[in-house]
Every structure is written in C-alpha cells, then in structure tokens.
C-alpha cells in the first residue's frame, strides 16, 4: 500500500515536472530529448554515486578516462531514440525522488548499500503492482529502464576504459602472430 502511495506521488510529480521545468529541485533533470544531457554539479555527483554503488571502482586507477557522468551525459542522447531519452530522464527523476522517499533522507546522505538494495529490488522485481493506473505503470517502467541503463553503462564505462582493456582484456593494438591451436 505504501509503495502504491509513493508511486502515485511520483506519477503526479513526473507529470508536473514535464510541464513545469522551472519548478524542479536541483537534482531533477529537465525532460527534453535530442540534446546532450547537461548535468549540474549536484546531478553529476548523485549519478556518480549511483554508478559507484552499482560498480565500485574506488581502487581502480583511471588515468585517462572521462568521468561516468560525462560518459552518460553524451551516450544517453547519442544512442537512444527520443522516447528512450525521455524515459531515461523520467526514470532518473522518479528514481531520485523514490530513493529519497524510501530512505527518508536527502540523496547526499544515502549510503551505497541503500542504493544497492534499491537497485536489487527494482531490477529483481518482475511482478507489476496490481491495480496501478497507467501513469503509475509508466513511472515504474521508466525507473526500471533507468536502472537497467545506468547499470549497463556503468559496466561499459569500466570495460571500455584503457585500464580494463589493457590489464584485464589484455588488449594490444598489434597482437602478434596468430596461433591457430594451443592448449587452453
């Protein structure tokens, strides 16, 4: 029942947000498509925190690599349809509010473990809530889309980095001779 209430609230907020971009708090991203996401400091910090919780890179040294928030801000627009870009932003906005509501605190106070629990629940939750309105269903779908995307892009951000490619995937521009058959 509590979850339903929260979703209802989120659905109303999501509608308001689309209509009144001026009335958002600084963590909320204005919903618009086909423009590179311009993230303010608060949004970048929060998105970095989400990504870091999903895939901690604290002890991985990135020497040459752009931040996750920079990566995400270009890739979301670059690879997605207009509809998917909007779903991503809506999902982010609703997820941000949802987390705050659930843990009853500001996002800056949310601990990595809480983000993990939230993501585990969303990504593991296959059952749609019963008796939800189309608006509430949409909010759920957008959150799920955002969570999937941000997890996928966190993995990509790591696996396409120089460090990961060279050290883990053993990438070499000139790999040397081809050995057709050897012991595995």
């Amino acid at each position: 029942m509590e979850r339903r209430k929260a979703l209802k609230g989120l659905a109303a907020l999501a509608a308001g947000l689309t209509l009144l971009p001026g009335c958002r708090d600084k963590l909320q991203i204005e919903v618009r498509a086909n423009k590179k996401l311009e993230l303010n400091d608060a949004q970048s910090t929060w998105i970095e925190a989400i990504s870091e919780a999903i895939l901690p890179k604290d002890d991985v040294v990135f020497t040459t690599y752009e931040s996750f928030s920079k990566y995400i801000s270009k890739m979301v627009t670059f690879r997605n349809s207009e509809e998917a870009q909007v779903a991503f932003i809506n999902g982010y906005n609703s997820c941000t509010r949802d987390i705050s509501i659930i843990y009853e605190t500001r996002t800056s106070k949310i601990k990595p473990q809480q983000i993990i629990s939230y993501f585990e629940r969303i990504l593991g939750d296959q059952e749609p809530l019963l008796n939800t309105s189309p608006e509430e269903m949409k909010v759920q779908k957008d959150i799920l889309f955002f969570c999937h995307q941000v997890r996928k892009m966190s993995i990509e951000h790591l696996t396409t980095s120089r460090e990961y490619q060279e050290q883990v995937l053993e990438y070499k521009l000139v790999p040397g001779s081809y050995i057709s058959c050897t012991k595995a």
Binding site: L158, T160, A184
Partner: protein
C-alpha cells in the same frame, strides 16, 4: 580544345579497378588522367583512426542513433563504424531511388571501396565462365579462364594474396603468399567434409594480405600484415591491398599520372563526326565548375552502378539512350550475391584447445551445388564462409562488490562457436535494372539513379538448400545447437553489385566485347563490375582487377597498332 586538358587516356574512378587501369596505362607510357569524384586519401597520412585504441574513440566505436536513422542503408553494413565512417558515403548526401529496397554501399574517395573491403580474393574457374552457356541464362561469356589466368597471376603477384594451393578445379590456385592456419575445429570440419562428401571442401580463405615480404612489396613501401584486423581504417603497414597504398602511388611514380580528385564525371563526349568518344565532361564537386577533358581512350571504373549512371547519362545523336546502348540492354541484367542466410552451432569437442591472437580472414567453402551437373531444383549455387572461435566470458551478474568481482575475475573460455554464411549466385534478368529519373537530379546535375533489383524464387530455393545442406554438414561434424537464419536483407548489402553493361560476343544482346570495349564505341572500356555477364559466387574484386589489367594492356596494344583510332 585546350592542350592542358588533353591526355592519352582518362580513367574514371580511382578505386579498386580504376587504380589498376591507371597503373597499367601509366606504366605503358600513356599520359593518364584519373578522375575521382571524392577527396584525395593519401596512404597512411589520411587514415586518421588507424592507430587509435578502443578507448580513444569518443563513442566507443558506435554510430549515433540519429545518424543511423538518417542513413539506414549504410547503417546496415557490418563494416560501418565510428572508426571508419569517414570512408562511407552517407545515404542522404548522395540519394538514389529505390524502386525496390536496395542498400547501395559506396565509398567516394581516392581508393574507393578498396579502403574498406574485406580482402577476400578468389579466382573464377571455367565452371563459372561456362555457367550461362551451360545453364541457359544471360548470354555466353566471351572469355574463358585461360584468357584471364595470366592476368590473375599478374595481379596476385603485385597485390599480395595469401592462400594455399588447394588443387580444386572449382577454385583455381594462384600465386600465393603463405596462408595462415585453420584452427583445430576448422580442421575438424575440413576432415569431416572430406570423409562425408567427395565434392565439399573447406580451405583457408584466400585474401589480399602480405604474409611474406617480397622485393615488389618493398618497392611499393608495404610491409607485412601484423594481424591487427583493423584493416577497414587503412593499414599503416600497407599489410593489405588497397589502391591508395599500391596501384595509385605506383602509377604516380611513372610521372604519367594526373590525379584529379573532387571531380565528378557527368558524361562522356561522343563525336558523331569522328564516330568515337573524344573526352569527358567533369564538374568540380566544390566550385561546380564544368571542365572538358579529352583523350583517345576512356576507361570506366566508377563502380558498377555509377558506371551505368555515367553511360546512361552520356547521350548524343548517335546514342540517344546512353552510350553504347544500341540494343536497350544498358542498365539491365544487374545481379548481385545472395548473402541472406547464416547458420551457427556449437562444437562441444576440443574443450582443451584454443587459438590465440587474430587473423584477417577465415575459412572458405567453394561452390559445390550444380557444378558438374544440374542436381537441384534451382540454378547455380553458393559458396560459404566458415569460421570457428572461442570467446572469453565473464559473468556480469550482481550489483556492487559482487559485480566488480565478476568483472575482474579471470575469464572463462566459452565453447567453440562455429558459423557459416552463404554467398549465392543470383541469375541476371532484364527486369533487374537501373535507369535514370527523367526529372530529378542531384546537386551536381546528375540524374538520380532508379534501382529496381530484387530476389526471385531461384534465390529462395537456394537459401533453403543452403540451410538444409549446411545443417547436414554440421550434424555430420557433430556440431550441436544448430540454428539457421535468414535476415531477409535487401540486395546491395553484399556490396557485389554487377552487370548492366554485360560482356558478350553478340552486339545485339550485350554491351561490351571480349576486351571490355563498348561494341559500338571501341575506345570506351569498362572494367568494373558493370561488365559482368554473370556473378558466380566468388568475391568479385580480384576478377575486376585482372580484367582491368588485361583490358588496359590490350587497349594500349591496339592503340600502338592504330587499331582503336
């Protein structure tokens, strides 16, 4: 007539085949103008991505969704990526009219598509040249294997082709550099085919890569292929053949070449008085200034469909329907290769073996259907690629520390995955054709080309046969989890468009004679895919190159004898 605009020969199109025409003509001492509609691309200097690492690409190798939506045809081409997209023509910038869906993949620059090609190079045999006569389609080829064999050798030695002498009558051997090895699963399949069939063979795909240094490659400034498999960006070592590293600089070294990039050939100028082509009309792609150039010989190498566009647009009192088009066959009998179907499976054996590193080609299964006799309910046959590989796998499950541990854990080798794709011959038909739009033109005033080309029942039957036969071959080899697919791709994506100005002995039914000369205008010579009477199954570029070298040398011989003028 201005003297500075006069040459002995003009070659139109500086790609795979045009590079050969220019090289041969220049070496024979002809002052040659090479007209290319695209920009100049200098070997190495103009390969901007050649040494970039995956993480240095802004979008990690991807093409944006917006760009794919704006250019749906090239977006479907496997080779079109962030690292080489600058070599592909954007659909939207150079429109054409698809009466039937047709993905026309083009490269407008010095080097043409030789920059991005997959470098597979097989000779034709007489089973291919005799096909139309035996099976009663198209017209008889006016040449046979013996006519082209010395020129295949000539081209192979200069370009550098690796392969094994396999001794197959369906796929003649050539002048090969050493081949790389098949891996253990590929060898297993090779012996399974040998055991179970008398007519099916897996060989190492012959390809245009230098695997052993030779003096001729040193003179060209080319080095060994180091197996980077980033060829489509342009190779900094010149490890694979393209016109930019090989034929065009060689032609330039003679001092006889004038390369004119950014020059779009609009039409060939025919003189009714002199009864021959006397020159060409060219528009500068940037300034739009029109210039006329004059020569005794004109070689068309603009890439099959563009050559047809130029010919159809070259009208005169003598040729109101396009130059050489006395019989109405120009633009008709276009054909291509049927690449629609694939098959893949798992090989559960050889779990203790793996291969290491990369190689720029894979296995090849020459055509075996309907070779010695008609044995199926469809005409002609298909060749197929074949490869086996094991991929490193890491689970990407979990969130947080668990996910991280998975991503950094040692990888596990997956099973051997095997796959094959068909390369089917399509039968040329008058209804598969291109023609000019009577009104619409591009921004340089060239009429837009209508492409009206599609599959037929013969192709559908061939697809089913490929799937049945390969399922059988895979089962006999013990492969499991066999899956066949038909991606229903439109024609064009095979990038082997051919025909439209076919060769033949009879001027009433063909456009070109056995020396690639237009029957009714002998100083125009066509040696790109437009000349093809039929398509067989082999990747065609090696044949275009051999044809270009043969025809150019013959034309110079004739010129020297005074026979062409």
């Amino acid at each position: 007539m201005q003297n500075s605009n006069k040459y002995d020969a003009i070659v139109i199109g500086a790609g795979m085949s045009g590079g050969w025409s220019a090289k041969e003509l220049c070496e024979r001492g002809l002052k040659t103008l090479l007209v290319e509609r695209g920009r100049d691309v200098k070997h190495i200097k103009d390969y901007p991505t050649t040494n970039l690492k995956p993480w240095e690409f802004e979008y990690r190798g991807e093409i944006s969704r917006a760009e794919k939506e704006a250019n749906p045809s090239i977006a479907r081409c496997y080779a079109y990526r962030e690292d080489n997209k600058h070599f592909f023509v954007k659909d939207m910038e150079h429109p054409y009219i698809q009466d039937e869906e047709f993905d026309w993949i083009r490269g407008y620059q010095v080097g043409g598509k030789s920059l991005m090609w997959a470098r597979q190079t097989q000779r034709w045999s007489d089973f291919d040249f005799e096909g139309p006569l035996r099976d009663g389609f198209a017209v008889d080829w006016p040449i046979r294997y013996k006519d082209l064999a010395p020129w295949y050798s000539y081209v192979e030695k200069f370009a550098g082709i690796s392969g094994n002498k396999d001794g197959l009558d369906t796929l003649p051997d050539g002048e090969f550099l050493p081949a790389l090895d098949l891996n253990c699963v590929e060898k297993h399949f090779q012996s399974s085919l040998k055991r179970n069939y008398s007519d099916r063979h897996l060989i190492y795909g012959r390809c245009a890569h230098i695997t052993e240094q030779r003096e001729i490659f040193r003179q060209q400034g080319r080095g060994l292929c180091l197996n980077r498999t980033e060829c489509e960006r342009g190779c900094p070592f010149g490890g694979y053949f393209n016109a930019n590293s090989t034929t065009i600089p060689w032609a330039a070294k003679t001092g006889n070449l004038t390369l004119r990039p950014n020059a779009i050939l609009l039409s060939i100028i025919y003189s009714d008085k002199e009864n021959k082509a006397i020159g060409v009309r060219v528009i500068d792609s940037e300034s739009k200034e029109i210039t006329e150039y004059f020569a005794k010989l004109i070689f068309l190498n603009a890439g099959a469909l563009n050559t047809l566009l130029i010919m159809l647009n070259s009208t005169s009192e003598r040729f109101p329907n396009g130059i050489g088009n006395d019989n109405g066959a120009l633009g008709k009998y276009v054909a291509f290769h049927n690449y629609r179907s694939r098959i893949n499976a798992i090989c559960e054996d050889f779990g203790d073996r793996k291969s290491v590193g990369k190689r720029p080609t894979s296995g090849y299964i020459p055509r075996f259907r309907n070779v010695y006799r008609q044995e199926t309910g469809f005409l002609r046959g298909y060749a197929a690629g074949f490869s086996a590989a094991r991929y490193s796998q890491r689970t990407k499950d979990g969130i947080g520390q668990e996910l991280k541990e998975h991503l950094f854990a040692p990888s596990e080798l997956g099973p051997w995955v095997v796959n094959s794709h068909m390369m089917g011959e399509t039968v040329p038909k008058a209804t598969n054709r291109v023609y000019l739009d009577p009104q619409k033109t591009d921004e340089w005033g060239m009429p837009l080309l209508h492409i009206s080309v599609k599959y037929d029942d013969n192709d559908e039957r061939m697809i089913r046969d490929f799937q049945d036969q390969f399922t059988d071959m895979f089962e006999k080899a013990g492969f499991v989890d066999i899956k066949v697919s038909d991606d229903h791709r439109a024609p064009g994506l095979d990038i082997h468009e051919m025909g439209g100005a076919r060769m033949g002995n009879d001027p009433n039914t063909s456009i070109l004679n056995r020396w690639h000369q237009v029957h009714s205008c002998k100083n125009i010579i066509v040696t790109d895919g437009a000349c093809m009477t039929s398509t067989s199954t082999q990747n065609p570029s090696l044949t275009y190159m051999a044809m270009a070298a043969r025809a150019a040398n013959h034309a110079v011989d004739e010129l020297e004898k005074g026979a062409i003028l």
